[in-house]
Symmetry: C2
Subunit: 219 residues, 2 copies
Amino acid sequence: MKTHFDGELDLFKDRLLVMAAKAETMIQKSITALQDRNQEAAISIPEMEAQVNQLQVEIDDRAFKLLALRQPMAHDLRFIIAAMKISSDLERIADEAVNITEDTAVLLNSPPWHPMMDIPRMAEISGEMVRDALEAFVDSNATKARTVLSRDDQVDALKDQVIRVMLTYMISEPQKSEVALELILIARSLERIADHATNIAEDVVYLVEGKDVRHHAER
Amino acid sequence: MKTHFDGELDLFKDRLLVMAAKAETMIQKSITALQDRNQEAAISIPEMEAQVNQLQVEIDDRAFKLLALRQPMAHDLRFIIAAMKISSDLERIADEAVNITEDTAVLLNSPPWHPMMDIPRMAEISGEMVRDALEAFVDSNATKARTVLSRDDQVDALKDQVIRVMLTYMISEPQKSEVALELILIARSLERIADHATNIAEDVVYLVEGKDVRHHAER
């Protein structure tokens, strides 16, 4: 039988999932606007950011009350601490989607640029990393969380590739330097999103195994 | 009379201050290496990063034990939660100092570049913001924390200025695009450091006033 406390924990988990879904949608919309050269796709981003921010405040507040009133032990305590950290990462993911949208706005004032290179691929992988990290959290699945960790290097390599090509491009067509710079900054934002997904996955491993993998080579 | 719990909290606070001092030193050293064109100044950065990471693990571990064994209430509970968030921001500040050092290494392989512009000033302000945010935390001083919040816009404006000038530079001297790009990335890292200091200051306001100023205009 579920206790009242279990019900509160479920509600808490549910809010975090809503927040994660919003953050992931924001990534998709920001990249769609970039790919389609159409800022319409990103029109709901500011409103969604406000919702994500509000959810973070709500989650922290619920966490504080659960800690203060329920004094949870062991696994529940770790779960609530992890949820607060995860909500902080999700909030920063949403911020990066806003950054991408702002950088895209600058691009849309410039003439069309060369193919997007690996940027859509980076967005796809980072978005999947966020989704999988959250699924791993909800299912307390450390194995799934570890698959997120392994994809971070892939995103880093793609970002290095974007920077390398854009630098060549800056040198050969200096008048398009701003376009190239914005694409580099967008690639960096996607790399950050992957980093945040990695942080979440590390928190999940800690939650499930009680093992801190944040700064270790044991991945 | 101090209780055993007070002693544990003091020790906990002390570790966080050690962590903050290391992060701040890392910012200074990374920028000294850049200004002096001498990577020697940054030679201890990788070791310091490892120490900061270790401190974060230790602080989280102490926090978990305090929460589990002492079941602190009200202000102490908020204090411990804030300390965990702050240690996470300090760890990311240390990461940015590492990024600056890596970007500087690329620069040192290039011919000397134009003046550093506002980058040393950005580093100075961000470093002060980190220090003041931590002092505000230790002294539970919300007024001091709010002075940190107000300096964030200043750092943002300096970063925009660096980007603007570097873009002109990329167009007029395209063969120096890489140098200009690295300087932009360093300015972005400093902006992130200021953002993390801002997060810390917001946590302090919340801790002292129980008021969440993270996503409000009331600053």
